[in-house]
């Protein structure tokens, strides 16, 4: 380490200058060493953040198992299974936290969350994947350089603005055209959500398509395949794990999105798969109700349980998406 420069300094320096330059070198090395440690320590913040998110969500959610005051109103069993809310009536699922008998059934919220996310996918997947195929396979360079920033612009629109647009403009238009009974329903909320996940699915699909090595394309052309045939039979199958990863990630995003569903879904916790009914999702429930609950009370605890559930679901979907990305890389021989 030190041998490289020390001899040069020795031959030219007087003893006094030598000791001072030695001291400077030592100080510079000490600074270097300290910087290394400080940088490594600060780089751990991301790990600490994820750990703290888990710890503090669980900390506030845990009373669902342990607290007797919480158990007077709600238990995990009551959240999961249909309850006989009124004596003599058959048991059913209901989410009505603010009522004489608070009801905290998870099922209506879960069905609502998945329903809206699936509608969002039905809208966003065809549009984004087709768009990505066009952009990577057909579009001339200049068109591509216009499309990609436009998609980035869409990605940069705050979700509260999209929620506003769906609430004030789109919902009325859709109702005028299709005559739905409810202006705000799962379909319009799903379209709004679709707008937020289109950039995600488009960008990742486009990346996957361009990651297919040129040799695949050249081989197909050499065999006489048309552009169409090459795209459908060679490029798309080769990129399919990446496109699937994009869709899974988009689904995870759609489940966790808050502002659009909060503003444009009608927020009624109805247990039904009917897409024309208003719907209430897990994130919208947290956002709408957290402002008015007693700190540490049963309702507070339940909302943190919802948070833990949402966190678990999205981490699972992100993990699945990452797994498909690694499969894409393995498939394309590490060139992706």
């Amino acid at each position: 380490m030190e041998t490289g420069r020390a001899p040069v300094a020795r031959t030219e320096a007087t003893p006094a200058a030598l000791s001072s330059s030695d001291a400077r070198l030592r100080r510079r090395k000490a600074v270097d060493k300290a910087a290394r440690w400080v940088i490594a320590a600060i780089a751990s913040t991301a790990i600490a953040a994820v750990a703290l998110i888990f710890v503090f969500l669980l900390r506030e959610a845990l009373p669902i198992f342990t607290s007797s005051t919480v158990h007077e109103e709600v238990t995990l069993g009551k959240m999961l299974f249909a309850q006989e809310w009124r004596t003599g009536e058959p048991p059913y699922h209901a989410w009505q936290p603010v009522s004489k008998v608070p009801k905290y059934s998870l099922l209506p919220l879960l069905v609502g969350t998945f329903k809206v996310a699936i509608i969002a996918l039905l809208f966003a997947v065809p549009v984004s994947v087709l768009g990505a195929v066009f952009t990577s396979e057909l579009a001339p360079r200049r068109v591509r350089e216009f499309i990609k920033p436009a998609v980035e612009l869409l990605a940069g629109i705050p979700s509260v603005v999209l929620g506003f647009f769906v609430l004030m403009v789109l919902a009325t238009q859709v109702q005028d055209i299709f005559g739905f009974q409810y202006r705000l329903n799962a379909i319009v909320a799903g379209i709004g959500l679709g707008l937020t996940i289109i950039p995600v699915i488009f960008t990742l699909s486009e990346d996957a398509l361009t990651a297919v090595p040129p040799s695949y394309r050249e081989a197909a052309f050499a065999l006489g395949a048309s552009r169409t045939r090459t795209a459908w039979s060679v490029i798309l199958p080769a990129a399919s794990p990446g496109i699937f990863a994009a869709i899974v990630l988009g689904f995870g995003r759609a489940m966790g999105e808050t502002m659009i569903v909060l503003m444009a879904s009608g927020n009624a916790a109805i247990l039904s798969w009917d897409p024309t009914l208003p719907v209430r999702t897990v994130p919208a429930t947290i956002a709408a109700e957290m402002g008015e609950v007693v700190v540490g009370g049963p309702h507070w605890t339940v909302l943190f349980v919802l948070g833990v559930l949402l966190l678990g679901l999205t981490i699972a979907f992100n993990g699945l998406s990452g797994w498909y990305v690694r499969r894409l890389r393995a498939k394309l021989g590490g060139s992706a």
Partner: protein, 301 residues
């Protein structure tokens, strides 16, 4: 001949089908932008940008919301940029890519980027407000609630955690554009690794790092869900001057006016004006970041 015709037909069909995807995306984008500009632009005036709301939000301006958003984002940037840049420096300059610790950090960043924004709101409430704020109050204020309540500092820190992956990813990309030789030249001239980083690598990666900071600001300015219960308020008579003050915010203003206004028609013009301002702020920042990045790519292919 027949073959060639079929060829061309299938190509046209393919182009039409896949092109329709692009058309729908660009069409939606255009619809949204046109609607908001057409209704919002007449609202923009000096008075609207510098006045407080009056008459139950049906008149006046949105200055406190602009001020609150800017202050929030500045606090967030001060917290997130140093941490994000240093993390990226560690990952790209210090750790070997296969080291377990670097992989752990990468996995944490990846997961952090995927956590829904409302969960960050819960985290801010449970950790910053209840835990950190509550402890400060118990230790220094004898249990009197000063820090243990929604406040601009907690909202800013919550947003800083949320935007951390944005800064890290952009900074790493910026560091990748600095040629290996430049570092090696600095080391060969006798600088320590830290001096090479400080005097050669970081300055050269500067514009790319700036891009990351701008993207984080744009993202932070637009996020509403994490600040719903960590510090945003619908109306405040005073501007925030202390870290524990609450604040007004453009996104929150839009949310409340659009969903809880007793007379939507009366507040609609102001609502459109607010949406346009929010959109202009975030889009302008985004556009700036995209422009810098494209320029950088052109100069360092």
């Amino acid at each position: 001949m027949i073959e060639a015709k079929r060829y061309r037909k299938s190509t046209i069909a393919f182009a039409t089908l896949s092109g329709s995807g692009v058309v729908v995306i660009l069409g939606c984008l255009a619809l949204i932008l046109v609607d908001i500009f057409v209704h919002g632009l007449p609202q923009l005036s000096w008075e609207f940008l510098t006045d407080s709301p009056r008459d139950g939000m049906t008149a006046g301006g949105i200055f406190p919301a602009i001020f609150g958003t800017v202050l929030l984002v500045l606090l967030m940037t001060a917290a997130v940029v140093p941490v994000g840049v240093i993390t990226a420096v560690f990952l790209h300059e210090y750790a070997s890519p296969d080291a377990w610790y670097a992989r752990l950090i990468r996995s944490a960043v990846y997961n952090l980027a995927g956590i829904p924004s409302i969960v960050f709101g819960l985290f801010g409430l449970g950790f910053f407000i209840q835990f950190v704020g509550g402890r400060i109050d118990a230790l220094f204020y004898g249990g009197q609630v000063v820090w243990g309540q929604p406040a601009i500092v907690w909202a800013a820190l919550t947003l800083a955690v949320l935007t951390l992956p944005v800064v890290i990813v952009a900074t790493e990309e910026a560091l990748r554009t600095v040629p290996r030789e430049n570092r090696e030249a600095a080391l060969a001239l006798g600088s320590t690794p830290f001096e090479a980083l400080w005097k050669v690598t970081l300055p050269q990666a500067g514009p790319g790092i700036l891009t990351g900071a701008i993207l984080a600001v744009s993202r932070g300015a637009g996020e509403t869900a994490p600040i719903l219960f960590t510090g945003a308020a619908y109306f405040l008579p005073h501007l925030p001057t202390h870290p524990t003050d609450q604040f007004m915010h453009l996104g929150y203003h839009v949310y409340v006016m659009a969903t809880q206004s007793p007379d939507v028609e009366a507040t609609k013009p102001i609502l459109y004006g607010t949406v346009l301002v929010l959109l202009l702020v975030t889009a302008a920042l985004n556009g700036l970041a995209v422009w810098i990045r494209y320029k950088l790519r052109r100069t360092n292919p």
